[in-house]
């Protein structure tokens, strides 16, 4: 009797336990999009840096907002959703509300064509933009893109999530490169060089995808990665400590790093970034 019950129970319960493990496993395993979205610098940081070095707002370097309906494949839509979201952030940082609304409209069109329009709370974004509440606006837009990422991942479209992030990153690198061409700034040159770190995180993930669109994108970024590998970073480890200043606990960081940039290598990076971006937005 025991044997019968055991046999009956063991089959069913083992199946249950296995299923349980699969679900827990799936929950524990982060998607590539989620990994990237956690690690990649926000395009807003680069836009703020551009503004901080004293560069004037330059609409001419942004992707034309009226091209939004021209992207036909899901791949190109997701890439350019990333591009437009960076352009939206750039316009918002400079408080160019008219342009920001145009780019918000482009984001909306592409998002709707990808079936993710429901995640964008236009009325709230508009209200926050009009109130010039930048922190709340950035919070809202960040959450929006987290929801979109979540949607792609939950619907087996992790690839589109990665593509969206790559589009956003390339656009922010491109904007920084274009400004660096016009305005000599060591700060901008260093920040462009530091994107080597982002590429190092990005490339192993991109290489996992074997469809033609992804392979083309990976091949383009591999060229860029090759140029970046020529940059040398000297790193010296120092002692770190902490101190409390006005109720804030601060890290006192005594590590140092210096990036050695050959002007010719930097020029190649600027040009190659421009070519990749041109292919993305065409």
């Amino acid at each position: 009797m025991n044997k019968i019950i055991f046999s009956h129970l063991s089959k069913k319960s083992l199946l249950g336990v296995l299923l349980c493990f699969c679900v827990l496993g799936a929950q524990a395993q982060k998607g590539n999009g989620e990994i990237l979205s956690n690690i990649m610098p926000s395009p807003v940081e680069l836009s703020a840096l551009i503004k901080d070095v004293g560069a004037a707002y330059d609409k001419s370097i942004l992707n034309s907002s009226d091209k939004a309906e021209g992207y036909s494949s899901k791949f190109s839509r997701a890439l350019n959703l990333g591009v437009y979201s960076t352009d939206l952030g750039y316009a918002a940082i400079y408080k160019q509300n008219t342009d920001a609304f145009m780019y918000l409209n482009s984001v909306r069109k592409i998002a709707e064509s990808l079936g993710i329009g429901k995640y964008i709370n236009y009325s709230n974004i508009t209200k926050l933009a009009l109130e010039n509440d930048l922190n709340a606006l950035l919070d809202e837009t960040t959450r929006t893109f987290e929801k979109i990422n979540g949607h792609f991942q939950n619907n087996g479209n992790d690839r589109l999530s990665v593509v969206l992030l790559v589009g956003g990153w390339i656009e922010s690198l491109y904007l920084t490169c274009e400004i660096a061409k016009k305005k000599k700034s060591k700060v901008l040159d260093t920040r462009i060089a530091e994107q080597q770190l982002v590429l190092k995180q990005l490339m192993p993930i991109l290489k996992k995808y074997k469809d033609p669109d992804m392979m083309n994108l990976t091949s383009d970024l591999a060229q860029l990665s090759k140029l970046y590998s020529k940059l040398k970073i000297d790193y010296k480890e120092g002692k770190t400590s902490t101190k409390e200043v006005g109720g804030v606990l601060e890290v006192v960081d005594n590590n140092t790093s210096e990036i050695k940039i050959n002007p010719n290598d930097l020029k190649m990076i600027l040009d190659t970034t421009g070519k990749i971006r041109a292919k993305i937005v065409k």
Binding site: N2, G16, L134, L138, T190, L249, V251, D253, S257
Partner: protein
């Protein structure tokens, strides 16, 4: 064998119940507190928010990572349902595993809710949030930045 199997099933059922029926963690109110704390630090702009849902105690530590850039000052604010954010701490470490800071001061038994960091090296950094000496497993954190 049969008994072991039944205990095993019971264990998974109880684990599932603990997760499923854990008090729902409403992050938004804590994130808003973090943004308010961020705005008190002059010149900082919102960058990212980190939901800290410990699922009723199932998860004691929650780890995030981010590329922090040299030349930028970062502020990390944390909030839970207590005014002083007691019970939630963060450890900042480098990609090589070196710990730079722990926001819980063991000697003073003090939880710092606002952390400042001006990295001298651009790199991947890890934020490991931990619920400590608390039954309150719901919190949020916000990362802000400004140019130095």
């Amino acid at each position: 064998m049969m008994r072991r199997l039944l205990w095993g099933i019971l264990f998974f059922v109880s684990l599932y119940s603990q997760t499923a029926f854990a008090q729902k963690c409403n992050i938004k109110q804590f994130k808003d507190k973090c943004i308010t704390a961020l705005q008190r630090q002059r010149g900082y702009t919102f960058l990212k928010s980190y939901p800290l849902d410990g699922q009723g105690g199932v998860k004691k530590k929650i780890k995030y990572s981010y590329i922090l850039s040299r030349g930028t000052a970062y502020i990390l604010t944390m909030a839970n349902r207590r005014a002083d954010a007691k019970g939630i701490s963060v450890t900042i470490s480098t990609s090589s595993g070196k710990t730079l800071l722990n926001s819980y001061d063991e000697n003073k038994k003090k939880f710092h809710s606002t952390i400042g960091f001006n990295p001298k090296v651009t790199g991947v950094y890890y934020f490991t949030f931990e619920f400590q000496n608390t039954r309150n497993f719901c919190a949020a954190s916000v990362l802000g930045f400004k140019r130095r």
